[in-house]
């Protein structure tokens, strides 16, 4: 089964979506086009059919119409004796199978001896021809349409269909021709000559028309009343106009109006609640009756519907087959992807030797396979390297840790350092930028009442600086055992450091020797940042800048020394440039000015609190930017 979020599902749904959309569009286009063709074909067919039917009827009606015309002209010539008129009518009926009956109806008292009513009538009764003379007021033909209308119009006239009670006794339509005679030198209306058309007979002809299964033809009169209709109850029933009202079908009214105006038309014909139809109607030439042919919409388009249904079924089947085949193909093509995903997981767990899926094709899968295989090798190699590097790094780190411990153990870090020396209160701190650093400080007592302290900064950072620092610190202690003045200590120290100093490293150094009895401070400065003096009176000032170069550069350099008198309560604040040059991430330095502000603000604090407040200020400046240089501070109060 295809999973909903799988590649094949997505490909197939997209392809199907596009295919179905295309198919629907094509089918809709085809259906629309074919429907138009069928409708046009039907229209032509309807015109032809109605034309044929009309022709057939005309062929019957036109000869029929000649009969009363001939009778009328015969009457007007006055050649025939009134008593032989009936036999002429009988002959007419007998000789013309299309004629149901024929009559000659005269004006009142036309023949003075025949009375008011005088009408001769011959009509078919089965195989025989029956003739009669109607001369009573029971058959009051003067007021009948077939008589009255042509008399007034003074021209031939086809009557509306009617039931001829008392004479023909069937449904019929009558063609009447008026005739005249000369009386007293005047042409006067004399009567009407007629032939009757049996509607039943016309119905038979029209009913022969077969259209599909249920299509049919029918005829309407001028007034829209059915003359013939396969449903015989419709004949002589209501007119199109009244049916339009009754069925709520305005289209019937339009049809009726068209026919009155003699317009032919092929149109859709839909009465609510009934099947949709297509109708073509046209008038006969000889009178205003009309012929209509009716095509049921359902049957007209049945073949199209069938073809469309077949098409849909075939294409749906095809799509199903396509889906099955495509999904199979895609599943097979994409299978390596799933396997590669599994391999990737295994590799992620650290098993680089996992066997990759076999790819036999030479396509993108092969590329993926090669890339995977390459990645495996690279990863394996990388991890080996990483392990080695890590091991080496760990070794170095552990060595550096030990080196750091050794280095830290070289500088005093017990505070207060001299509980039995009340004159000196001291605090110092050293924070390396790396594991080991090049800053140093030291202090010790020489000869009971001389307190020696030093602070220094080796050029550079890290291991080289730390080694140089260790050498400096060791030499200082050794030299201070023998020398007592700061300058001589410095010079000896410088000589030792500068000797064979191939690396050209140097150390800035401040060394002070304080006489604990007198408060006299002798100091020498080898290029170090001058310490700050905080007087007991609140004055904050810096030692003047050194005029001597750092230690380790020139063996024979002469270092000078200076003296300053400290009073009780005076404090010294010594530092390395890691304090004044502490950087934040915008590369802004902490600065000497800021440092002096902190010192000024903390001038009443004891050494430890002063250093802590400076440390806090530096931390606030640097925030989480990596420490750029070693930081060392030392504060001493003389009491």
């Amino acid at each position: 089964m295809i999973k909903k979020n799988s590649l094949s599902f997505r490909i197939i749904t997209r392809v199907l979506l596009i295919t179905i959309t295309l198919f629907v569009l094509i089918m809709a286009g085809y259906y629309y086009y074919a429907r138009n063709i069928i409708r046009e074909y039907t229209r032509q067919n309807a015109i032809e059919l109605a034309g044929n039917l009309t022709g057939k009827i005309e062929q019957i009606l036109q000869p029929m119409e000649k009969v009363p015309q001939m009778l009328a002209s015969t009457m007007e010539m006055g050649l025939i004796h009134p008593d032989s008129l009936m036999s002429i009518l009988e002959t007419v009926v007998r000789k013309n199978p299309t004629i149901y009956g024929s009559a000659l109806a005269f004006e009142p008292d036309f023949f003075p001896d025949k009375g008011t009513y005088h009408m001769l009538y011959a009509h078919r009764e089965g195989d025989r021809v029956h003739s009669m003379t109607l001369d009573t007021e029971e058959y009051d033909y003067f007021y009948m349409d077939w008589y009255q209308i042509p008399a007034i119009l003074k021209e031939p006239y086809w009557s509306e269909p009617y039931y001829d009670e008392g004479a023909g006794n069937i449904l019929m339509a009558t063609y009447s021709v008026p005739f005249y005679c000369l009386r007293d030198g005047e042409r006067r209306f004399a009567g009407i000559a007629t032939v009757d058309l049996e509607l039943e007979w016309l119905t038979d002809i029209v009913s022969q028309v077969q259209i599909f299964e249920t299509g049919y033809a029918f005829m309407l009169s001028r007034n829209g009343v059915a003359v013939t209709h396969p449903d015989r109850t419709m004949i002589m029933n209501k007119s199109a106009f009244s049916n339009a009202e009754e069925w709520n079908a305005p289209i019937l009214r339009e049809v009726g109006r068209d026919l009155l105006q003699g317009i032919s038309r092929f149109r859709e014909y839909h009465i609510p609640g009934r099947d949709k139809l297509w109708i073509y109607y046209r008038n006969l030439e000889s009178n205003l009756w009309s012929v209509s042919v009716v095509y049921p919409d359902r049957e007209m388009f049945a073949s199209l519907r069938q073809m469309t249904t077949m098409g849909v079924v075939f294409i749906l089947g095809g799509l199903l087959l396509l889906t099955l085949i495509t999904s199979g193909v895609i599943e097979r093509l994409a299978k390596p992807l799933t396997l590669f995903a599994g391999s990737a997981r295994t590799i992620a767990e650290g098993n680089f030797d996992v066997k990759l899926p076999t790819v036999s094709t030479n396509d993108e899968m092969k590329e993926l396979h090669d890339a995977f295989s390459h990645m495996q090798e690279e990863l394996a190699e990388y991890v080996v390297n990483l392990k080695e590097t890590t091991a080496a790094k760990e070794k170095i780190e552990s060595e550096l840790r030990i080196a750091r411990e050794i280095q830290l153990s070289m500088i005093p870090h017990t505070f207060p350092p001299f509980p039995d020396l009340p004159q000196v209160c001291l605090y110092a701190m050293l924070k390396s930028a790396r594991e080991v650093g090049g800053d140093l400080y030291d202090f010790f007592v020489i000869d009971k009442d001389k307190f020696c302290f030093a602070i220094g900064d080796v050029s550079g950072k890290g291991v080289p600086a730390s080694l140089f620092m260790a050498v400096t610190r060791t030499l200082l202690r050794t030299i201070a055992d023998k020398e007592q003045s700061p300058a001589s200590i410095m010079e000896t120290l410088n000589k030792s450091l500068a000797f064979n100093n191939e690396s050209n490293m140097f150390v800035t150094f401040f060394l002070g020797v304080l006489d604990l009895r007198t408060g006299k401070l002798m100091y020498s400065n080898a290029g170090h940042n001058p310490p700050v003096v905080i007087g007991s009176n609140g004055n904050v000032s810096m030692f003047e800048a050194a005029k001597s170069i750092p230690l380790g550069l020139f063996e024979d350099f002469i270092y000078t020394e200076h003296a300053v008198q400290l009073n009780s309560g005076d404090k010294l604040f010594a530092y390395t440039d890691g304090v004044s040059e502490a950087e934040n991430k915008r590369e802004v330095l902490f600065g000497e000015e800021r440092m002096l502000e902190i010192v000024d603000a903390g001038k009443h604090l004891d050494p430890k609190d002063l250093i802590k407040s400076m440390e806090e200020a530096i931390d606030n400046h640097v925030v989480d930017y990596p420490q750029s240089d070693d930081i060392t501070m030392m504060a001493i109060r003389y009491t």
Partner: protein, 109 residues
Amino acid sequence: MNLTQEKLNDHLLLQVVGRLDTTQSDSFEKQIMEILDQGHEKIILDCKGLNYISSSGLRIFLIMQKKMMGAGGQFKICGLQPSIKEIFDMSGFTMIFSIYQDVDEALKA
């Protein structure tokens, strides 16, 4: 940090621009060593574009000074920015180096 060099009369003019901190000083040292090995007699180091120097950087200046002096040549520094000049003053290096206002002054000397 960026180092450029050009010939100026009988001098080699070096111009250093940017920061010379611990991380940069290794590559600076390498470039300087190559230049020194070429055996120039007179070198001017123009520092007007140098805006920070660490002690590692100062060490390289010292190496240049020592090597040039050892070879009997001349090494002149010029165009120190005030903050750099301050460091030179404080560390006493002003005493060791020949420091001039600008390149013209260094050339004339």
